[in-house]
């Protein structure tokens, strides 16, 4: 087996189990990813891993794109795609199966009761997600104030486009950063 193929296979073997073990979000994944890519396989140095983590946080997208970057470091473009698919495909198949099963009971009393019962919990989870992100933000009080201001703006002016707010937030902080420097 050529070395490239072996690396791709190893990437898949590392990320497929992580995909199925990562219950409750990506935070628990981070430690495992670091252990695998730095200590076990030597795909990145500790310093490179920290850099890749910072880059993955800067990019848009759901959850962690860190796996993509580790795959890229290990085996180029093919590695990036392999690691991404390996991390997201198994969990997606699982939730797809759950959705099919769940859809079978649509219309029953239990289905609507469970759906209605989960709704307030889901709203609470969305709010908790905001708190969790706020907690790990490196920006300090400025972020808290800006986030609160953005919340109020969006609630008072529902027509305000969130992207306009993202742009304003980025410009404001960029400007403040420039003055500070």
């Amino acid at each position: 087996m050529p070395d490239d193929t072996r690396t791709l296979l190893t990437l898949a073997l590392v990320f497929v189990p992580l995909s199925l073990l990562s219950i409750g979000g990506g935070a628990s994944l981070l430690a495992d990813m670091e252990y695998q890519s730095v200590t076990v396989h030597g795909w990145t140095t500790p310093r490179e891993f920290a850099d890749l983590f910072a880059i993955s946080r800067a990019a848009p997208g759901p959850g962690t794109m860190l796996s993509t970057l580790i795959g890229w470091k290990a085996a180029g473009w093919a590695g990036a795609v392999t690691a991404t698919v390996a991390l997201y495909l198994p969990s997606s198949l699982l939730v797809y199966g759950a959705a099919r099963l769940w859809g079978r009971w649509r219309g029953s009393v239990w289905h609507s009761a469970i759906e209605r019962g989960l709704a307030p919990i889901a709203a609470g989870l969305i709010l908790s997600g905001g708190i969790a992100v706020l907690r790990v933000s490196p920006g300090g009080p400025a972020i808290w104030i800006a986030a609160a201001a953005a919340t109020v703006l969006l609630l008072c002016w529902p027509r305000l486009h969130p992207l306009a707010l993202f742009a304003a937030g980025g410009a404001l902080f960029g400007l403040a950063g420039a003055i500070e420097l």
Binding site: P60, G117, P120, V133, L163, A168
Partner: protein, 192 residues
């Protein structure tokens, strides 16, 4: 975001290219890990493709199954919109943009390094994105302010998971039966 909840969805089912385009845009513009809030704004509020209830049950199911909550929610909504092909189109669209962007950033970083100004700009975007998350959660809360039971359940969830940082799965397993029981009772009293 209006005061009223989205209870009916539009009757026509979106075609695959429309699903792909909507989720691609969602992927490249969802900063700061707020895919659910942004998806709510784009897919539920603007396009009316699914109802509030379908969205919220997707959020809950997506969080209790393994994997990223945002990706799982995308699979669930995609499945509702166009079954297996809808789910595939939505997920590939959601991930392909960020994949390209994150690699471009990594290559750029390797060439020119990291500027503090970029960090500041990203902090600002992240702050606005957190605001969107809170506004979405509060909008969904206000929508059912007439019912005290669900309101208390939401508060309990925020307290346990958000503030006290208890593990999410056990908290959901404790609160879900209570909340589902309340929903059954509410239904029974509505029928009577």
């Amino acid at each position: 975001m209006t005061e009223q909840g989205i209870d009916v969805r539009s009757h026509h089912r979106p075609r695959l290219p429309a699903i792909f385009a909507a989720f691609f845009w969602l992927g490249v513009t969802s900063f700061g890990g707020n895919t659910a809030a942004w998806l709510y704004h784009q897919i539920v509020r603007r396009r009316h493709w699914v109802t509030d209830a379908e969205f919220l049950s997707g959020v809950a199911l997506g969080r209790i199954t393994p994997g990223s909550g945002g990706v799982n929610l995308t699979v669930l909504i995609g499945q509702r919109l166009g079954d297996s092909r809808g789910a595939l189109a939505a997920v590939v669209a959601l991930l392909s943009g960020p994949l390209a962007i994150v690699l471009a950033l990594a290559i750029g970083y390797a060439r020119v390094g990291w500027s503090p100004a970029l960090h500041a700009v990203l902090d600002g975007i992240a702050a606005a994105a957190i605001g969107l998350t809170f506004a979405t959660g509060l909008t969904l809360l206000r929508w059912r302010r007439v019912e005290i039971g669900p309101f208390v359940i939401t508060l309990a969830t925020v307290l346990c998971v958000g503030v006290l940082r208890w593990p999410m799965i056990p908290v959901i397993l404790c609160l879900a039966p209570i909340s589902i029981g309340l929903a059954l009772l509410a239904r029974r009293s509505a029928d009577a």
